[in-house]
């Protein structure tokens, strides 16, 4: 796996944010050799005492660690601090767990095994039990047994007279990147106290203790890099990107430059979050946009405001319908809609009506509707759709609701939705339930014909919201399932830009809000195009808000328009290169360079 000219890029899971470049300190665990001895009767009692002595020493070690950790951890993060102190506490209790102590003692007394042998049999049995657990959250705890067992073995091996075996990880060079197959909580803590710059762990997951400790101390960490041990050597230079979950082993000069840019980007994100949170998304020449979030759960609401977003531009309702054998009740839906409206009040929440069919099938739909998606499916299943509309109307009393209808192809569909909304309203009135008046109804523009008919559609709806992912796929005739080559998904195709322009022109002409809620809305590099096209609202994953806002606040609309003008004379690939270099020139700290596949302009 060695390359002359390239560093080795490994993809794991980023469990603690941050990016660093440094030298690896490799921590290899040496399995203690287990002796297998049958003891004479006369030594059995002494062997049992030796076992308990080892436990007592391991307990003392944890106590000392506990005290020094409590003293060295800065105050102010009590919850997190408690989290890893809690893990130590658990480990200490596990040392005397009946499932470990009783069996081990029994093996010594009845089978006359030496303590190491008895303990290793006990641990193997327990680890086996954990390995067969289905739930990964619990299965992971098998690691704890392994770590405890190992430490006990080390104390047993040490014999009577010696001090505690040298605590692992006491002599790390400062600022090292710790590389290990796995780490016990004690090891992770010991490492963090020596100011390691990052953790790279072959096994593990987001809920593992290294991840918890790394996050609480703000140390970047990447885990789940199976096989990394074969390519990472002690002293190797390594880039660790805890945002993207990537490491680059022995990076080239070029990759180190990319690293520096990624590191700057990380700083830029933090700065943008801090500085732009309360500022408007407005260009220097006064063109104002509204940034909203795409949300799946009401629980994500606090994040929206913390990142400087205002309200929700796309709340998907499919989760209520998928993975169940019957539709959710009206009450159940109302409750879900109310909770997201309340959480975001006073800002508007755009709730998208059911978008199933295609690749998202619900289990209770009949075969006769198998080919229909989104609004087509809903119009073929009026009762189901009416139930959702009633729930939405009922929820409208609790916040600023907007209804977004997906997959609109024809003004007829909008009129049908309005007709059904009137029926739903009547049905509620009969039950004595009132709802907010004049709830805006919007069309999601993701079918090319809807863009082409935007002028007619604009007369029927209160707002547009462009779903760019589907729009580009249907325009370019590529399927969602298979990966398409880059040139087919390049949004700078002149025909695609023309469609976007038709949508915004029609929207502006009719005086309705034109929004965009597809993936492109959250791409900082595409923001100048959206500014030029004159979108009023961008809705994106909450994490994308700070950087998109940063680009908007630094890109005069006049300049964005000039940029778009230039694209008229270029083909899509030239336009992409041009936009890339524009972004690198104006926002070097924002563009994420890829370690693999250098962008055109750097080739």
């Amino acid at each position: 796996m060695r390359h002359e000219n390239l560093g080795i890029v490994l993809q794991g899971e980023g469990v603690s944010e941050g990016i660093v470049l440094g030298a690896v300190a490799r921590w290899d665990r040496h399995e203690t050799l287990v002796e297998h001895v049958r003891l004479p009767e006369s030594l059995v009692n002494a062997e049992v005492s030796r076992f308990y002595e080892a436990i007592a020493r391991a307990e003392r070690e944890i106590d000392e660690l506990y005290v020094s950790l409590a003293a060295s951890t800065p105050k102010g993060s009590p919850a997190v601090e408690g989290e890893h102190l809690g893990l130590l506490d658990a480990h200490k209790m596990m040392l005397r767990d009946p499932s470990i102590v009783n069996d081990t003692e029994r093996y010594i007394r009845e089978e006359h095994l030496n303590a190491e042998w008895a303990l290793s049999m006990t641990l193997k049995r327990l680890e086996g039990m954990f390995a067969s657990v289905k739930d990964p959250f619990f299965r992971e705890r098998g690691q704890d047994i392994h770590h405890i067992g190992e430490r006990l073995m080390q104390f047993l091996a040490q014999g009577d007279d010696a001090e505690a075996p040298p605590s692992p990880l006491t002599h790390l060079p400062q600022g090292a990147i710790l590389f290990a197959h796995s780490l016990s909580p004690a090891e992770a803590l010991a490492a963090s106290r020596q100011q390691v710059a990052a953790f790279v762990i072959e096994v593990g997951s987001t809920s593992g203790h290294t991840a918890i400790i790394a996050r609480s101390l703000g140390i970047p960490a990447v885990v789940g890099l199976a096989g990394a041990g074969d390519v990472v050597g002690d002293g190797d230079r390594v880039i660790v990107d805890g945002f993207e979950g990537e490491i680059v082993v022995r990076p080239t000069e070029y990759e180190e430059i990319l690293y520096a840019r990624r590191a700057n980007r990380a700083k830029a994100v933090r700065r943008a979050v801090r500085q732009n949170r309360t500022l408007p998304a407005e260009t220097p020449d006064g063109f104002s946009m509204v940034l909203r979030a795409n949300l799946d759960f009401a629980a994500q609401a606090p994040q929206v405001e913390a990142l400087g977003g205002r309200g929700v531009g796309l709340y998907r309702t499919e989760f209520l319908f998928l993975e169940r054998t019957g539709p959710p009740t009206e009450d159940e839906q109302t409750e879900a809609y109310v909770s997201v409206l309340k959480a975001l009040a006073p800002h508007p929440v755009t709730i998208r009506t059911l978008d199933v069919g295609g690749d998202k099938m619900i289990k209770f739909s009949g075969p006769e509707h198998a080919g229909l998606r989104a609004i087509r499916y809903c119009l073929a299943n009026e009762d189901l759709f009416l139930m959702q509309l009633r729930a939405l109307l009922r929820a409208s009393n609790h916040g600023e609701l907007r209804i977004l209808v997906p997959f609109i192809a024809s003004p007829y569909e909008v009129r049908e939705v309005r007709r059904l909304l009137a029926i739903a309203s009547e049905q509620l009135k009969e039950r004595g339930i009132r709802h907010a008046p004049d709830i805006p109804v919007g069309a999601m523009i993701e079918v090319p014909v809807a863009a082409l008919s935007a002028q007619q559609l604009a007369r029927e709806v209160d707002f547009f919201s462009v779903g760019t992912n589907d729009l580009i796929q249907y325009t370019m005739a590529v399927s969602r399932e298979s990966a398409a080559p880059d040139y087919l998904t390049n949004p700078l195709q002149s025909g695609f830009l023309k469609l976007l322009r038709m949508i915004t022109d029609a929207g502006h002409h009719a005086g309705i809000t034109t929004a965009i809620c597809g993936e492109l809305a959250g791409k900082p590099w595409f923001a100048p195009i959206l500014i030029a096209l004159g979108f009023n609202e961008l809705s994106m994953t909450p994490e994308a808000i700070p950087l998109v806002k940063e680009v908007i606040r630094r890109t005069p609309r006049a300049e964005a328009l000039a940029l778009l003008q230039k694209f008229n004379k270029m083909d899509a690939e030239e336009a992409k290169d041009y936009l890339d270099s524009y972004m690198v020139e104006h926002f070097p700290e924002i563009v994420t360079p890829r370690f693999r596949g250098a962008p055109h302009y750097m080739r």
Binding site: G86, D89, M93, M94, P98, K134, F137, F138
Partner: protein, 89 residues
């Protein structure tokens, strides 16, 4: 000899995970009685964190706590309180 039994539902989001299991085992450890926790057919020693973890009781799981011994009633009551409080999380 005293005996007590109580059915409980795990209320907290993370279920009977490490911290909750540690708290339960510690509470059980304060009593002399023999205490078990069962989930369906599976029954483990309430004083064993490992055993409790192996129950893999997530949120909403019903568990049965049984105790035998001089302080069985108090033990079951204390464990019941702990579980119902959501392990004070």
């Amino acid at each position: 000899m005293d005996a007590a039994r109580r059915e409980l539902v795990i209320p907290n989001e993370k279920g009977l995970h490490v911290r909750a299991a540690t708290a339960l085992a510690r509470t059980a450890g304060r009593f002399a009685s023999q205490i078990t926790v069962a989930r369906g057919e599976e029954r483990v020693d309430a004083k064993s964190i490992m055993g409790l973890l192996l129950l893999t009781a997530s949120q909403g799981t019903t568990i049965v706590v049984e105790a035998k011994g001089g302080d069985a009633t108090e033990a079951v009551m204390a464990i019941g309180e702990l579980v119902e409080s959501g392990f004070y999380e």
